[in-house]
Amino acid sequence: MREYCTGIWQARYFWTHLALSDLRSRWRRSYLGVFWSLLQPLGLALLLALVFSRLLHADIGIYAPYILSGIIVWDFLVSNVTGGSLSFVQADAYIKQCRHPLAIYTLRSVLGSLIALMLASLPLYAWSALILPQHIGWNWLAILSLFPLLAAIAWPLATVLAYIATRFRDLPHALGLAVQALWFISPVYFEEKLFRQGGLDLLVDYNPIYHILQIVRAPLLQGSWPTTSNYAFALGTAVLLTLLAWLVGRKAERKVIFYL
C-alpha cells in the first residue's frame, strides 16, 4: 500500500501533465478558450433560474446562485463518474507501456475537472457577493473545503468504477441512467424545501449530495457555516469509497491490462 502511494507521488509530474493536457485540448483553438468553463454553467444557470423562479415563485437573485452551485458541483460529479469510469480504457496505451499505479489515470480526470470546477466557481462567488453581500464573512472560508472533499470522494469513486468498467463495458451506459436517476432525487436544481414539503425528508437528510452541496450553499446563500453533519456525511462517503476502491483494487489492479 505504501509502495502504491509512493508510486503515485513519483509519477506526480506525469499525471499533472496529463490533466493539464486534457484541459489544453479542451480549450485549444477556441476563441474564448478557458472562459467557456465560466460561461457555460453561468449561462445555463441564468436560463434555468429565469424559468424556475417564475414557476416556483422564487427570487431569481437568490435562486440563480442556488442553481449555479448545483450545476457546477453536479457537472464535476458526472464528469468523474461517466468520464472517470473510462479512465483506464482511455489510457490503455500508457498502461500497456509504463508501470504506473493505475489510480493516477483516475486522478488525472479528477484533477482536470477540479480545475474546471474552480474556474466555474468564480462567477458563483461573484454573483453571491453582489446579491448577498450581507453573507460575506469568515464562514466563506468553508467554501474552500469543498475542493479537497470533492476530490477525496471523486477519486476513489472514479477508480472503483474504472476497475469495473474496464472489465464490464456495459457499466458506462448503465451509469448514464443511474446518474440521471440520482439527479432526480437530489436537491441539485430544486430547493430542499420542495422535497421536505412533499414529505421526502429522507432524500435530503441521508443524501451525501445534499450535504456536499451545503458546504458551498450554507456560507454563500445562508450566511452560515456548514453543519457538522454536512462534513460527517461528506467525509464518511469519502472514507467508504476509499475502502471500496482499496478492496476492489487489491484484486483488479494487476488484471486490468488484460482487458484493455
Binding site: 485540448s25 496505451a93 509504463c98 508501470r99
Partner: protein, 250 residues
C-alpha cells in the same frame, strides 16, 4: 557494481479468454444459430510456458522468435506489466523499456513542448528535461521545426524526435522491442551509435528483434522462443542457427 539481476523461475502467463471473447447479448442470441467460420474454439492463450531464465549484470541478451512466439510478452512481463499466472519474477535494478517511442506525443503541441511531455511520461522531472532539452534538440536536428506543432512533422521527423528523447536516459535494465531502423541514412548511423552507447551503459540489455545482424553484433546470449516456450538458451550464434532451423530456413 553489477548488481542488476533478472530472474524468471517457472514462469507461466495466460491471457484469459474472457478478456477478448465477444460477450454481448447479441452474440448470445446469435450463438445457437452460428458457428465460427473455421470451427476453432476460442480459448485461453498460454503465452509463456514454464520459462526459467537467469540474467545477471553485464549480459546482453537477444530474443528471437517469429511473430507471436512471445517476444513482446516476455519483455512486458520482465517490465512488470503482466501478472504471472504461476512462477516467479525477480528484478533488481531500474528498468527502462523502449516499446513505443512516440507514445505520449501531443500533435497540437510544438516539438519542444513534446520533449517535456515525453520526458514526464518516462518519469523524469521538468527540471531535468529543461536541462537536457538543448542536447535533444541538437540530436534530433530538426532545424526551426522544433518550434512548430508536431502535426506539421513528417513521419520520419517524428521518429527522429521520438528517438532523440527516448534514448536520452538509459536504465540499468534496458528492454528494447524492435526499435532499430528509423529515419534516413545519415540519421540511422547516428541513431546506431547512440543506441550502442546506451547499450554499453546499461548493465542488462534484452533486445527483441528480427534483425539478425544487429542481434549478432549487440548480444552475446540468445533466447529462442517458439509458441511461448523457451527452446534455446545459449550463445547468440547458435541461437540464430536454432531460430533459422525452427522456422525452416536453415
Amino acid at each position: 557494481m553489477k548488481h542488476s539481476h533478472v530472474c524468471l523461475h517457472g514462469a507461466n502467463l495466460h491471457y484469459s479468454a474472457t478478456a477478448f471473447k465477444e460477450r454481448s447479448l447479441k452474440s448470445l442470441l446469435a450463438h445457437p444459430f452460428r458457428r465460427t467460420r473455421t470451427g476453432t474454439r476460442i480459448g485461453d492463450i498460454h503465452a509463456l510456458k514454464n520459462i526459467s531464465v537467469d540474467i545477471r549484470g553485464g549480459e546482453r541478451v537477444g530474443l528471437l522468435g517469429h511473430n507471436g512466439a512471445g517476444k513482446s510478452t516476455f519483455l512486458r512481463t520482465v517490465a512488470g506489466l503482466y501478472p504471472l499466472s504461476s512462477g516467479s519474477l525477480r528484478v533488481a535494478g531500474q528498468i527502462r523499456s523502449l516499446f513505443d517511442l512516440s507514445l505520449g506525443f501531443e500533435p497540437d503541441a510544438t516539438g519542444r513542448e513534446n520533449i517535456l511531455y515525453r520526458g514526464l511520461l518516462m518519469g523524469l522531472t521538468p527540471a531535468f528535461m529543461r536541462e537536457r532539452e538543448a542536447e535533444i534538440v541538437a540530436f534530433a536536428d530538426l532545424g526551426e521545426f522544433i518550434d512548430y506543432p508536431l502535426k506539421t512533422y513528417s513521419a520520419g521527423m517524428q521518429v527522429r524526435l521520438a528517438f532523440a528523447i527516448s534514448t536520452l536516459v538509459g536504465g540499468e535494465v534496458l528492454l528494447l522491442d524492435e526499435v532499430i531502423g528509423a529515419g534516413d541514412a545519415s540519421f540511422m548511423a547516428k541513431a546506431q551509435r547512440r543506441l550502442e552507447h546506451l547499450v554499453d551503459s546499461a548493465e542488462i540489455l534484452i533486445l527483441a528483434s528480427h534483425d539478425l545482424q544487429a542481434l549478432a553484433r549487440l548480444c552475446e546470449r540468445g533466447l529462442v522462443l517458439h509458441r511461448g516456450e523457451l527452446v534455446f538458451d545459449g550463445p547468440i550464434e547458435q541461437a540464430i542457427a536454432t531460430y533459422l532451423e525452427i522456422n525452416g530456413n536453415g
